[in-house]
C-alpha cells in the first residue's frame, strides 16, 4: 500500500489507560491531496493528528511519508507542520518572529528569515503586521499568522486541528478560501481535523470519517453524503429518515406496510434511508412509483428551507426539507415522493431504527 501512497498510516493504534483512542487505522493519502479527518469530539481524530506529528508515539503501526518510516523520526524532523485550534502564536514574539520561528530553528540566516516571513505574511494578506504583538491581533488574523508560520517552512504535510472552530461564522468562509488557495499554490498535502461535516465537505477531496477510534468510511464528500456505509455514518451526515424493511431485489416492504422501490437491490432484512432534502412533497397526486399519501403534522421555516414532518396513512413518519417557496398548512393532505435512486439501503443487521436526535429538532 505504501508503495503507491505518498503518505500513509498502517495499522495505527494508540491506547490510553487500556482504552483505544485510535484503533487499527489505515489511511493512504496522495501527494497534494486534501483529506478531512471527521468525527464527533472524542473520536480519536486529534490523537491521530498528534501521532502523525510525532507528539504521541503509537503503540502499534507505522506512518510512512514519501517512502520513509516516520516512527523513529522526532517531531522536529518530520517536515510536518501543525496548526492548532486558536493559532497559538508565541505571545513573547512579534508576528514576524512568530512566522520566522521555524526558519530560525533551521538555522536560516537572519536576512532570509525576515525576507521570507514578510513574503509569507503578504500571502495571508497581513502585510505590515510583522512588528505587531500577537495580543494586538483578532482571532482571524492570529489564525492566518499561524497558517503563515506553518507554511513558511514548506512542510510536506500540513495538519490543521479544527482551524475554523474558534472563528465567527462570517470569518470562517474567508479562512476556508484562504486555506484552499494556499494549498493549491503550495501543493502541500493537507490533513484537516474537524467535527463539522459541512466544513469537511468544503475543505477536502476525501473525508475520513472516524467513530470511537476507528475509521468507518473514507470517501468523497458526495459518496459519504449519498452512499453511507451504515446508519451511524448516515446519521452523522445529517440523515434523519431511517426505516426497517424487507428487501426482495428492488422491492422493499416496510415494517409499516408501505411498499417502495429502490435502485439498490438487496435480500432479506435491511434498513433504508433517504435524505430529507431528497423527498419531494406535492399537494396533488402525480403518476409514478414511491408516492405516499401523507398528512403534514409539523412545519418549520429555517430561512433557506422549510422542514416538514409528514405521517403517511400507514403511520410512517418522514422528515422532508423543501424550498421555502412551497407552502403547506399543518393538517393538509399531501403526497411524498421518494425517488428510487435516493432510497439508500444498508444491508443486514443494523440496529433498530430509533428516531435520531435530529428528527426531534
Amino acid at each position: 500500500m505504501s508503495e503507491t501512497a505518498y503518505f500513509s498510516m498502517q495499522n495505527l493504534t494508540k491506547q490510553f489507560r487500556g482504552t483505544a483512542a485510535v484503533q487499527d487505522l489505515w489511511l493512504d493519502v496522495q501527494a497534494g491531496e486534501r483529506i478531512a479527518l471527521l468525527g464527533p469530539s472524542g473520536c480519536g481524530k486529534s490523537t491521530t493528528l498528534q501521532l502523525i506529528a510525532g507528539i504521541l508515539r503509537p503503540d502499534r503501526g507505522q506512518i510512512w511519508l514519501n517512502g520513509r518510516s516516520l516512527n523513529r523520526v522526532p517531531t522536529e524532523r518530520r517536515e510536518i507542520a501543525l496548526v492548532l485550534q486558536k493559532g497559538l502564536l508565541f505571545p513573547h514574539l512579534s508576528v514576524g518572529e512568530n512566522v520566522a520561528f521555524g526558519l530560525r530553528m533551521r538555522g536560516v540566516s537572519r536576512a532570509e528569515q525576515v525576507e521570507r516571513a514578510i513574503a509569507m505574511l503578504d500571502q495571508v494578506q497581513l502585510s505590515g503586521f510583522e512588528n505587531r504583538k500577537p495580543s494586538e491581533l483578532s482571532g482571524g488574523q492570529a489564525q492566518r499568522v499561524a497558517l503563515a508560520r506553518s507554511l513558511v517552512i514548506q512542510p510536506k504535510v500540513l495538519l490543521l486541528d479544527e482551524p475554523l472552530s474558534a472563528l465567527d461564522a462570517s470569518l470562517r468562509g474567508d479562512m476556508q478560501e484562504l486555506i484552499l488557495r494556499l494549498q493549491a499554490e503550495t501543493g502541500v498535502t493537507l490533513l484537516v481535523v474537524t467535527h463539522d461535516q459541512s466544513e469537511s465537505a468544503v475543505m477536502a477531496h476525501r473525508i475520513a470519517l472516524m467513530f470511537d477510534g476507528r475509521l468507518r468510511q473514507v470517501d468523497t464528500p458526495e459518496a459519504l453524503y449519498q452512499n453511507p456505509v451504515d446508519e451511524s455514518v448516515a446519521r452523522f451526515f445529517g440523515g434523519v429518515n431511517f426505516f426497517a424493511a424487507d428487501a426482495q431485489q428492488h422491492r422493499l416492504t416496510l415494517a409499516e406496510g408501505e411498499r417502495l422501490i429502490t435502485h439498490y437491490p438487496h435480500h432479506g432484512t435491511v434498513h433504508i434511508t433517504i435524505r430529507p432534502e431528497h423527498i419531494h412533497v406535492m399537494a396533488d397526486r402525480v403518476c409514478g412509483a414511491n408516492l405516499l399519501p401523507a398528512t403534514l403534522i409539523h412545519s418549520r421555516f429555517t430561512g433557506t428551507q422549510r422542514h416538514l414532518t409528514l405521517r403517511t396513512s400507514a403511520g410512517l413518519q418522514l422528515q422532508a426539507w423543501v424550498p421555502p417557496s412551497q407552502q403547506f398548512a399543518v393538517g393538509q393532505s399531501v403526497f411524498a415522493h421518494l425517488p428510487p435512486e435516493a432510497l439508500w439501503v444498508f444491508p443486514g443487521s443494523a440496529t433498530a431504527a430509533a428516531p435520531s436526535p435530529m428528527a426531534q429538532v
Binding site: 517531531t75 501543525l82 508565541f90 505571545p91 521555524g102 537572519r110
Partner: protein, 313 residues
C-alpha cells in the same frame, strides 16, 4: 460596586456625557478608598524613612547638633568594613538567588507532571520560621552537630575536630544552605504555578516547527516563564540581601554582612555610631533598590532589544 457601575461603558446614562473621555478612567473617589491603606504605609514606612534620614544627617537623635552634617555617611563610606560587608552581602544574596532560581527552574520542570502533591510539598517549608531553620542547621551541621557525630560513629572521621566547618565559616556555607533550603521550595512553588498556566500546545507547536527539546526550552518555555522567574528571584534577592538573623547566627564572624554591621553599629556603646548605623541602613536600602531597578530593566528585555536593533542596523 457603584464605582464600577459608573465606569461601565454599557451604562447608557453615562454614554453620551462621557463619549469623548476614557470610559475606564478611574473616578476620583476610588482614590479615597485606597487612602487608608496608603496613609498607613506612608506613615509607618515613609515616616520611618524620613526620620531615619533626618537622624543620619544629624538633624535628629540623641547626638544631634541641630546642623546638617554628612559625617555619618562619610564615616560609613570611608570605612573598609562597609565595603567588605557590602561585598559579602552581595555575594551571599546573588549566589543564593542564582542557585535557588536555577535549581528551582529544573525542579519545577521535573515536578510539572507530578500531581498536586508537588505544590503541597513545596509549601512545607514556608510556614517554618527562619529561626527554627537556623536552629536546625546548627543542630545538623555544627562541629558537634548530628552529622558530625554520625560520621564519627561510622568511623569516617576520627573526631568532630575533623568535621569541616559549615557554620560561621568564611564561605558562609551554612547561610547559603539555610537560604537554599528555605527559598528553593518557595521559588519552585511560584514557577510551578506559572508553568501550569503555560499551555502544553506551545511546546507541541514549537516542536512541529522544528525546535528540538532543548531549543524548545530556550526559545519558548523559558521566555514564557520569565515573568515568574523575575518576580520570584527579586523577592528572594530582596529578602536575602536584607536578612539579619541568618547571617548573624550562621554567618562568618568577619567580615559581617551589611545588616549585621548595621545592628552592630546601632547597639554600639558609642552613641555617635547610631547615626552611622542609620546611614548604613539607608545605604543598604539604596543599593537594594538600585539593584532591583537594574534587574527589572534587564529583565524587561529592553536593553537587549536595543542592542539587537543596533546589530541589525
Amino acid at each position: 460596586m457603584t464605582i464600577l457601575l459608573q465606569t461601565n461603558p454599557n451604562n447608557q446614562d453615562d454614554r453620551n456625557t462621557e463619549e469623548q473621555s476614557n470610559h475606564w478612567a478611574i473616578p476620583w473617589h476610588a482614590y479615597l478608598l485606597v487612602l487608608p491603606a496608603v496613609s498607613l504605609i506612608a506613615v509607618l514606612f515613609g515616616g520611618g524613612l524620613v526620620l531615619a534620614f533626618l537622624q543620619s544627617i544629624g538633624l535628629m537623635g540623641l547626638t544631634s547638633t541641630g546642623a546638617v552634617s554628612l559625617d555619618a555617611y562619610q564615616q560609613a563610606l570611608t570605612s573598609r568594613q562597609f565595603w567588605q560587608s557590602l561585598g559579602l552581602s552581595l555575594y551571599i544574596a546573588l549566589t543564593a538567588t542564582a542557585i535557588s532560581t536555577v535549581l528551582s527552574i529544573g525542579l519545577a520542570l521535573l515536578l510539572l507532571r507530578a500531581g498536586r502533591w508537588a505544590s503541597f510539598a513545596c509549601q512545607l517549608t514556608l510556614p517554618i520560621p527562619h529561626l527554627v531553620g537556623i536552629a536546625g542547621i546548627l543542630l545538623l551541621l555544627s562541629p558537634s552537630g548530628v552529622l558530625s557525630r554520625v560520621l564519627v560513629h561510622l568511623g569516617w572521621i576520627s573526631s568532630d575536630q575533623d568535621f569541616p566547618l559549615l557554620v560561621n565559616d568564611r564561605a558562609n556555607l551554612g547561610v547559603m544552605l539555610h537560604f537554599l533550603w528555605k527559598e528553593i521550595p518557595f521559588v519552585t512553588l511560584i514557577l510551578l504555578a506559572v508553568l501550569r498556566g503555560i499551555r502544553p500546545e506551545y511546546g507541541m507547536q514549537a516542536r512541529a516547527l522544528g525546535a528540538s527539546r532543548w531549543k524548545c526550552f530556550w526559545t519558548v518555555t523559558l521566555p514564557l516563564l520569565r515573568p515568574g522567574i523575575i518576580s520570584a528571584s527579586l523577592i528572594v534577592f530582596g529578602f536575602v540581601f536584607g536578612s539579619f538573623e541568618v547571617p548573624f547566627l550562621l554567618g562568618s564572624t568577619f567580615p559581617k554582612t551589611l545588616p549585621v554591621l548595621v545592628y552592630q553599629a546601632f547597639t554600639d556603646l558609642d552613641l555617635n555610631q547610631r547615626s552611622v548605623a542609620i546611614a548604613l541602613g539607608l545605604l543598604l536600602s539604596g543599593v537594594s533598590i538600585s539593584l532591583i531597578a537594574l534587574y527589572l530593566w534587564l529583565g524587561s528585555g529592553k536593553p537587549f532589544r536595543r542592542v539587537m536593533r543596533r546589530a541589525q542596523g
